[in-house]
Symmetry: C2
Subunit: 326 residues, 2 copies
Amino acid sequence: MSEPVILTLDQIKQRIDETTLLTDIERGFAWYSEGRTVVPPVGYLAFDPPAAGDVHIKYGYVQGDEYFVVKIASGFAGNLARGLPVTNGLMLLFRQDIGEPAAILLDEGYLTEVRTAVAGAIAARHLARHPVARIGIVGTGGQARFQLRMLPQVTACREVTVWGRSDERLAAFEQEMAQEGFHVETTRDVRHLAATCDLIVTTTSAREPLLRLEDVRPGTHITAMGADAPGKQELDPHLVARADLVVADSVSQCVDHGELAGAVQAGLLDPARIVELGKLLATPDRPPRGADDITIADLTGVAVQDLQIATHVLRGPISRSPGGGG
Amino acid sequence: MSEPVILTLDQIKQRIDETTLLTDIERGFAWYSEGRTVVPPVGYLAFDPPAAGDVHIKYGYVQGDEYFVVKIASGFAGNLARGLPVTNGLMLLFRQDIGEPAAILLDEGYLTEVRTAVAGAIAARHLARHPVARIGIVGTGGQARFQLRMLPQVTACREVTVWGRSDERLAAFEQEMAQEGFHVETTRDVRHLAATCDLIVTTTSAREPLLRLEDVRPGTHITAMGADAPGKQELDPHLVARADLVVADSVSQCVDHGELAGAVQAGLLDPARIVELGKLLATPDRPPRGADDITIADLTGVAVQDLQIATHVLRGPISRSPGGGG
């Protein structure tokens, strides 16, 4: 009986290679759309205030792969008042052939942020008009930063406009991202952002549309990350309906909640028009986007991203050396 | 952010104090019957042959306690051919107040065996006629050993009759348990066991009744451990119907599957007659058993046993020192 590998957050960060991670997660999306992944319903626990916590237990596997994964992710709103991070969690990998625990990734929720940002970069790579002239980031939180940090994997653009409601948070975002090589303009006018950016990533928990049809220019790609639960909405349903191409990481999830649900329920968007990201990736000879097309990707998060990033971390640099194998 | 305590199987074994563990799990059964535990439906994954594996993910908490628990338990039948243990797994504890991982117990399935044996000892303590004259163990597997090893916590009896179908396995059981201080008689005739034992523990995966009404003497207590899934049965439904007291760890589970389901479905046992173990434990002034009563406990396993044993291990000796706290 061999004991599982245990990796701390620092060790995990050292084992991430963003370039190959994008490829690993692209492959995962394709497997998901082919029906090769087994992902049962998410487990859930809730704790009353003052903890105000909830816990999601996600688990599953890619058929024929080496491992299955169990991820425990928590969000405890009460931690804010204690000066502790709200999100936390870990991921476990087990061997599919004998059930043995293979690895414990003490990632404190970090891998969820990264795999979410990777999905945004994948959408930008395949859907945005290249070269990108200016990146628009809607929101100033943690995921806004992760999204921006991942985009250099798919675009040379470093010109950024960020929108937020708080001058203080806008200034903090600008300062932090400037240190990482981005040229950041801040704004509290989302129409200004829409008028100047051609790759827009929305990362807020807004419940009213922020981006309106009349504000978005032809040729723009928008990736919506924030609407991960029923009732959240960042995009005008008429904007969704008008888009030339609408992509979802999971059609079934995005019709149930997320940006697309509102447009579908209002009868503005035919669900048959939605293209699943994994299907798009499995179609390399698809026609290129029109220069004036408006494209939208709605990403609600699918468990295969967790499977792929956990396996990526466990395999580490070995699988990425020229002669390496898993 | 403090890192979780990580304990290997050897370290876990050193932190178990059987006497206080019985009390901890008794308290857990009482909390379960009071409705103080939160235990959502079990998560499940399955793998096809040759692995022939399945994985159960159990999670929950006692309201107002310090931790919540996630347990991953696997059984991979294909491991037999590889000479590897079939069962494996681990338990995780997280703080209920801030969600932080507190402990990782790499128990390889050991704690599940122990908490199951503890439930058997609790049933024997409260239901058997004391002093016990002779212990009957039906079955020669791993859980049969764990059950017998735990009984000295509740009885001074060391006289044992063990029933099995294989002379080889009977001899191995006898030899092993003799080294641990038991005087073991082996038999392939379960009627002989029933005729000589007054505390009987059944631990097989039988699908046909082994113990029949006409074979069991007045004054006998029977704990049935084996029928943990639909279709499994160790006791004659007429024996269950005739018993003077029928106890279940979880009435809802035992009416659905387990020993009692058959008798209930055949109309031989009124479900209202079944007493839940935690309710019994919370009634210290209940009348004593009649000397000639036949009593039956059907134990299918409830998640609060996992919660309590995991917390017991994490708290370790500190909580059991005179001035200690959790």
